[in-house]
Symmetry: C2
Subunit: 259 residues, 2 copies
């Protein structure tokens, strides 16, 4: 399992302040910490960047690229910021995170992946950004998403599907997440190739919940996802239990010899 | 998920000594600790009991029944000990652990379940007590085991299948355990009813391995088993991480509302 760190995000106050002030030190420190803690990829999530999207995403990507060669996920809904990040991130591999069936994303984000020839995450969300409810709706969304992706001319191996983990505090969250396990197992057959998948663990425990319970929920759900075929775990690199669990999933599911 | 504690076992020196000396205090203390730590069932594993099987199993079962009403698993290959435990354990529910296709067990252990009308664990092992290698062999063993069980006249709901977790240090251990996940998902369709299943987590990490790694392996594999349909986890009640993981599996897989 690939570990993608979700720590470089605007919801962390030190990161928000550093983006606001274009102060590279906290950004560089966080990127270094992710790399040292064993992240394989780093997700850069500056939010929608309503103010100065080009300057801020360029600053972020250049700062991170200066301290690590790890692949970067550009995690924003702002197409101008996405384009700026792609232009700035030439030294590192860049993954777009991401598109959905939302018309603005199909029109402005997805084509960037085709233009730059890079991998892109596609979210299993309806065109109005809702989590599909029934299994049939999930399947329809997955097929439509793949069909839109194919129009870019990219190879199948460049698509990464995010089936969207639901917060447990949602009324339908636990049930949705159980369906998600089935869906992960079904996707390769449904699309006809071994499609890569990603899931954001922090979503699972969004909202108020004791820290110990959050970690237990995450490190219990992650192996379920992994055994269902998940390839990439987007998680908090400062949760050592979750990181150890991700590594242990790899040992149990991908290694034949465990020394 | 039902949590069965595997702590009352002869491989623990204090338990071995207490059995040898027919000293009830350490046995009663351990049974109490299992109950207080949240065990749903207690596995009583005195080994083969070559000396005084009747006296010792009677002593064990009476001692445990005096301090808890929890169901007990009688975990021995000795039919005389099993019969004595059944006779002594009338106040608590008793589960036999267990039989396999080994001729001696089919002849002497399985009939006891029919005679006492109690649940029994069937191990997916070949008639010469080997772990089946191929998927086909696993399926053949499961069908033969079910067929032998049916001859007792017990209802399907009284069978519990143990697909036998392999130690990771075995050359084929990791691969076997991955097949086991598929097998757990297949068993209900294969046998035609929602057969209950049990797995012993300690087997996974048998041998020399740092304690922290053992716990990480167990608490990572358990959710994979649970998502594949496992009903009963046989585990060390003194591993709080594994116990919390078992409880969290139940929340994620069986509850619709998580408060």
């Amino acid at each position: 399992m690939i570990i993608a760190a979700d720590n470089l995000r605007v919801t962390q106050p030190t990161i928000a302040k550093a983006i606001e002030q274009l102060d590279p030190a906290p950004i560089a420190a966080m990127a270094r910490r992710c790399a040292e803690a064993g992240a394989d990829w780093i997700d850069i999530n500056p939010g929608p960047l309503n103010r100065d999207p080009v300057g801020r995403m360029t600053f972020l990507v250049e700062t991170v690229c200066a301290v690590t060669t790890l692949p970067l996920m550009l995690d924003t809904v702002n197409p101008a910021a996405m384009a700026a990040g792609l232009a700035a991130g030439r030294s590192n591999r860049v993954i777009l995170n991401g598109f959905s069936l939302e018309p603005a994303k199909l029109a402005q984000i997805l084509p960037l992946a085709g233009q730059y020839g890079c991998d892109i995450v596609g979210y299993l969300l309806t065109p109005d950004s809702q989590v599909p409810v029934s299994e049939e709706e999930c399947i329809a969304v997955a097929l439509d998403l793949y069909s839109a992706f194919q129009a870019t001319g990219l190879s199948d191996a460049q698509l990464i599907i995010d089936p969207v983990v639901a917060p447990l505090i949602w009324a339908d969250g636990p049930r949705h997440n159980r369906h998600l396990l089935t869906l992960l197992r079904t996707l390769p057959d449904l699309l006809g190739f071994p499609v890569r998948t990603i899931a954001g663990l922090s979503n699972l425990t969004a909202g108020r919940m004791p820290g110990k319970i959050k970690q237990a929920m995450q490190r219990t759900f992650l192996p379920m996802l992994a055994a269902a075929g998940l390839n990439i775990g987007l998680l908090d690199i400062d949760h050592p239990d979750t990181v150890l669990t991700a590594r242990t999933c790899t040992q149990l599911l991908e290694n034949d010899i465990i020394a």
